[in-house]
Amino acid sequence: MSLITDLNRKALDRGVPLTVHLDVTYRCNERCEHCYLDHDGDGEMSTAEIKSALDQLAAAGVFFLTISGGEPLIRPDIFEIIEYARSLRFNVKLKTNAILIREKQARRLRELNVEQVQISVYSHRAQVHDGISKVPGSLDRTIRGIRLLKAHGLKVTIANVLMKGNLDDAEGVRLLAQEVGAHYTLDPTITPMMNGDTSLLRLRITSEKLRNVFTDSTLVGNVEEFCAPPTAIDEDTLEGYPCSAGHTAAYVSPRGEVFPCVQFPLSCGNVREQNFLDIWKNSPQFTEVRGIRGKHLSTCKSCSHLGSCTRCPGLAWMEGNMRGPSTADCEKSYIRTGIPTANMLSRGFTDASAFAAPESVVSAAALIQIQPVR
């Protein structure tokens, strides 16, 4: 057993929230056309409130802390926040568009021993990237930021969100990542906005195009392994839990609200009113989420994909039942393997074109990190 697996197992056994994603703002200096946030800064936690939240997270045992937004560097106090987080010995990962990264910021992030910086790049071509970010010159500024971070010895991951507008540029971004010495991850998931607006789903790439991505060895690695048929369901799978949300992971919004995951908008409490550990241990919402095992999933428990599906409980919840299927992930399991899911069959599946994720879904699909960050 690897050390990280052992760490996760210990955290799970003891009910420790090992990983927290903290959005420090929803404000942003880009207007990416696929973004699910409203960019509203109302009700943001103050510096003191964020420090208090960090104290609570550290006391609860959180080790891996992702600081994100919005654009986190838009906050004038961001380095005070990161410095405080590091003083509490969190492993800090920063998600940013890097537009505001200059020499001074890159050096400071290195000094603070931020473990990793993740940056979204949509294309290696300015016309395409800037067209998606809606900020002329943003690709040049982002790449400049990446180079500065790398020059200071920081680990950088380029996250390539794939949509209709940049579908042909995945290889170009992968090569760009290689050239600047960054890791590369591909994410073909487009999610509805947090306010329920599903118009963004029009940006999703088609099933046929997704199949091309899933069978491209330069993007997914070992295609045979990635697209392998599911293995037989065993007792461990039925007794297993669907994902880390609510088990070893949680999300804290800029307003202090606590959720199982950034993609699972089930409010469990607010750190402005209640201690995080109290919310984590005692909120009825967390208790319900972590009580769910594979055998409790209404349709999925009989699905051959149960052990390998990227099923998102947040998406399932927004579809109406946190124990139900998340249809977008059913589609991905089918596209990967060619084997229909139990959900598809129960809905009278005949062919792939007859089955697609419903556009009425009001949530986020599971993030597929085809190539692991670490």
Partner: protein, 118 residues
């Protein structure tokens, strides 16, 4: 007389002071300290004794004091044996960049060694 101490590794002895490295993340889980290096993302797990040393490594306490006041107080072990084991452990942790060694105390403030609530 000038010294070359800044360019030479600090020799480890009972009077050496230990300081937790700022380049790592750390959290105690189930009695063991999990350490992750920010420079190469390597994950380490310290056992109970190493965790005790890590927590005591405030830059102001010597290895001798840590052994006598922490390890021997916590475990039923002879000071000589405890010191020998601790020296080996500290050498290893220093080589991994988890601990820093100095011949003099380091008065500057150190990040806290946070322990999770149960």
């Amino acid at each position: 007389m000038t010294t070359t101490a800044t360019t030479q590794p600090t020799p480890l002895n009972a009077a050496t002071y230990l300081t937790r490295s700022n380049a790592v993340a750390a959290r105690e889980l189930a009695g063991e300290m999990m350490i992750m290096s920010a420079t190469d993302s390597t994950l380490f797990s310290l056992n109970e004794t190493a965790t005790l040393i890590w927590n005591a490594a405030d830059g102001k306490t010597s290895l001798r004091d840590i052994v006598e006041n922490k390890i021997c107080a916590e475990f039923d072990i002879e000071p000589e044996t405890a010191y020998r084991d601790a020296e080996s452990l500290v050498t290893n942790l220093a080589e991994l960049g988890i601990l820093q060694l100095s011949a003099e105390p380091r008065p500057q403030s150190q990040p806290r060694a946070t322990q999770a609530q149960s």
